[in-house]
Symmetry: C2
Subunit: 261 residues, 2 copies
């Protein structure tokens, strides 16, 4: 019988496209003793896991029981002592609003060896795949990634600070706060600043809209964009090859254009 060596690796699955996982992450899935995965993880990635190895879904899904963070933490500990190497697979990168560090700290408090494998963060990768480079010489010298879902439930004060700067601003998990975000940027005098919202980035069912602070809410509604989505705000959005077309009250939905009026 194999001796159980409790271990945790918090692993980034990338933004959705199953080819956008790292080779290291794929190898760890092949070597795992048990896999715990989140809702935003593409389940095709579980094909790397040997069929004898258990895989447990711990994310939130409509109508399904959602594990609390405490329950996930407990499950990690139980799994490590019962099975050995726990691969904790998370969408994007585990340290970009993924609560990965909380899980590592919890495991270490039980003397469980715990490590991390980075993943492609949607903040950079989904924007880029949608032809919006987060930085571009002469246009943006920085990008600022902010969560739209804080522990308090209120919008992060960092959004207000960001509206005062020239940084490309990327807001994750913030679609439900779009109205507040628009107000903040409007008050900062940035009504015409280009904005894009991308849903299901890197997947075949990706949807996106282009616009500016003034019209982005209307366009998101008209296009039927929903979560999970990223919001990209800044002059780099205007580099998108179709940005100029959108200036004339047009909306991009999937791969076809239509006029609002």
């Amino acid at each position: 019988m194999k001796r159980i060596e409790p271990k945790l690796t918090v692993v980034g699955a990338g933004p959705g496209d199953p080819e956008l996982i790292t080779i290291k992450a794929a190898r760890l899935l092949m070597e795992a003793d048990i896999v715990l995965y989140d809702a935003l993880v593409n389940t095709e990635l579980l094909d790397y896991v040997p069929s004898s190895v258990p895989t447990i879904f711990v994310g939130k899904r409509a109508k399904a029981h959602a594990y609390t963070q405490q329950q996930i933490n407990d499950l990690i500990i139980d799994s490590a002592f019962s099975y050995g190497h726990v691969v904790r697979l998370k969408g994007g990168d585990p340290f970009v609003f993924g609560r990965g560090w909380e899980e590592i700290e919890h495991a270490r408090s039980f003397n469980i060896d715990a490590g991390y494998v980075p993943g492609i963060s949607s903040s950079i990768g989904v924007a880029g795949l949608q032809q919006i480079p987060v930085t571009h010489r002469g246009t943006s010298e920085s990008f600022w990634v902010i969560t739209g879902t804080t522990s308090s439930g209120k919008i992060s004060k960092d959004v207000q600070a960001a509206a005062q700067t020239n940084a490309t601003v990327v807001i994750l998990m913030g679609l439900h706060k779009l109205q507040e975000i628009v107000e903040i940027f409007s008050h900062a005098g940035k009504s015409s600043l280009p904005v894009s919202v991308v849903q299901n980035g890197s997947l075949t069912n990706e949807k996106y809209v282009l616009g500016n602070i003034d019209n982005i809410e209307k366009r998101v509604v008209a296009a039927g964009i929903g979560a999970p989505a990223i919001i990209v705000i800044g002059e780099v959005v205007a580099l998108h090859p179709e940005y100029n077309k959108t200036l004339a009250e047009k909306i991009k939905i999937d791969n076809s254009f239509y006029s609002l009026n």
Copy 2:
């Protein structure tokens, strides 16, 4: 004879560890007709390229001829028309200060089909592998990534703005500006803010130091840290398991501690 179809894909190689490339990027290296790669790319990745396919180093190296961006742009066009699919392999992510968008725009101006494959950015991945999560619930709701090497040669104004905020600040290619960065954060009243500098992140020759705004310059010099390095500034740095040890005027070099006094 195969018909030549000119094409460019700008591909992220990740931070250095050859396993931290995506499966898609590795596949494109196998399928490329020619590969142009930068100095920060781990050359082990070229093992994916079939031996019949040319690989050209276009980066800067001590004493070696360095291509200008214009020469690289020209080489991409020539290569695409002569060979077909050009894989342009860049360290980290091509759109994080990688000038990837410039190359895509240039190729498109010649009607060459051009695309992008994201890579693990050192801004997130190197920090995380060095046990510094760029975000952590209750500590940081955002991270701001800034280049230390602007087109003007001056320090980005975004560094000054960032020093006024609670964002985790990550500065890439900024080691030569460390003195200015320290002054900016000191003037913002943040002398005791935790800082880490990591050289050769994710590689076996990785070096790092932990400290604060007040003492980081001294520690970088004592540890002999040089470029390429990332600078991480913010309360999340104090989450590093060895951070508290460093408070007592100690410096971490490789895997051993020594006292300054």
